[in-house]
């Protein structure tokens, strides 16, 4: 995901803002990292460039 995608992402539960932490990037593209909802104290992963904003209780692959 590009960093400017942050503007339109939100916590899937409380709809609050997310905080981006990048662990691997390529230019403007975030490949690995986390999106943290401080209000819910939940981290959502970014993996292979795709943010996963499924609540933890939802079905997993």
């Amino acid at each position: 995901m590009r960093k400017n995608l942050m503007e339109i992402l939100c916590c899937p539960v409380c709809k609050g803002e997310l905080e981006l932490t990048v662990t691997e990037e390529s230019g403007e593209e975030v490949l690995e990292g986390t999106l943290r909802c401080a209000a819910c104290s939940v981290d959502y992963p970014i993996s292979e460039g795709i943010p996963n904003l499924l609540p933890k209780t939802a079905c997993e692959d």
Binding site: L5, L9, E48, I50, P51, N52, L53, L54, P55, A58
Partner: protein, 188 residues
């Protein structure tokens, strides 16, 4: 080559892309919900200010990203805030009895619950949260889903809707409904 857990583009996808190309403006921030292979969203790249696509299916999200679309794995628009000027959705619309369910990722792309409208109801109920004031929705529906029932759902959520494109296919008729906020009724 698509993984077998991703809905491959079919007549409904082709119709939705045709309607979207007629609708899209260069300044639009576009969201496609439940993008599947990413075929429709990718067809709008370069025609809009931005194109974002969501899918709950991890295989689908990867397909859409491989087509160059900004992909987010989430349920409908749960993890996005918008606002978007154009929202596209080719929903799971087939009426499906509980004993017909397959319980895999493809089922998400097809299973509309007993009425065919279970996912459409959730979509319409939350669409206003992410749609800009003058934003438009293009929703693919089938005669099997009940066109008038879906238009009623739009009306109850405060949207006006009308058919902008249609196509007969074997055993059903496909429609693209265009929905907008009913601005005359706002504040009434």
């Amino acid at each position: 080559m698509l993984p077998d857990q991703v809905y491959p583009p079919a007549e409904d996808s082709f119709l939705l892309l045709r309607a979207a190309l007629a609708e899209v403006r260069e300044t639009d921030r576009v969201l496609e919900v439940g993008t599947g292979s990413g075929y429709v969203a990718a067809g709008l790249l370069g025609r809009a200010a931005s194109v974002v696509a969501t899918d709950i299916n991890p295989h689908a999200a990867r397909c859409a990203r491989a087509r160059g679309v900004a992909a987010v794995r989430t349920d409908l628009f749960a993890g996005v805030s918008g606002p978007f000027d154009l929202i596209l959705f080719n929903p799971p619309y087939l009426p499906t009895a509980p004993d017909e369910r397959m319980d895999d990722w493809l089922e998400y792309a097809l299973d509309g619950g007993p009425t065919g409208r279970a996912t459409i109801e959730r979509f319409i109920a939350d669409a206003g949260r992410v749609l800009s004031s003058f934003g438009r929705i293009l929703l693919l529906v089938s005669s099997l889903t009940g066109l008038n029932d879906v238009r009623d759902l739009f009306a109850r959520a405060g949207f006006v809707s009308f058919v902008v494109d249609e196509e007969p296919i074997e055993g059903e008729r496909l429609y693209v409904l265009r929905g907008m906020r009913d601005l005359c009724r706002m504040g009434a």
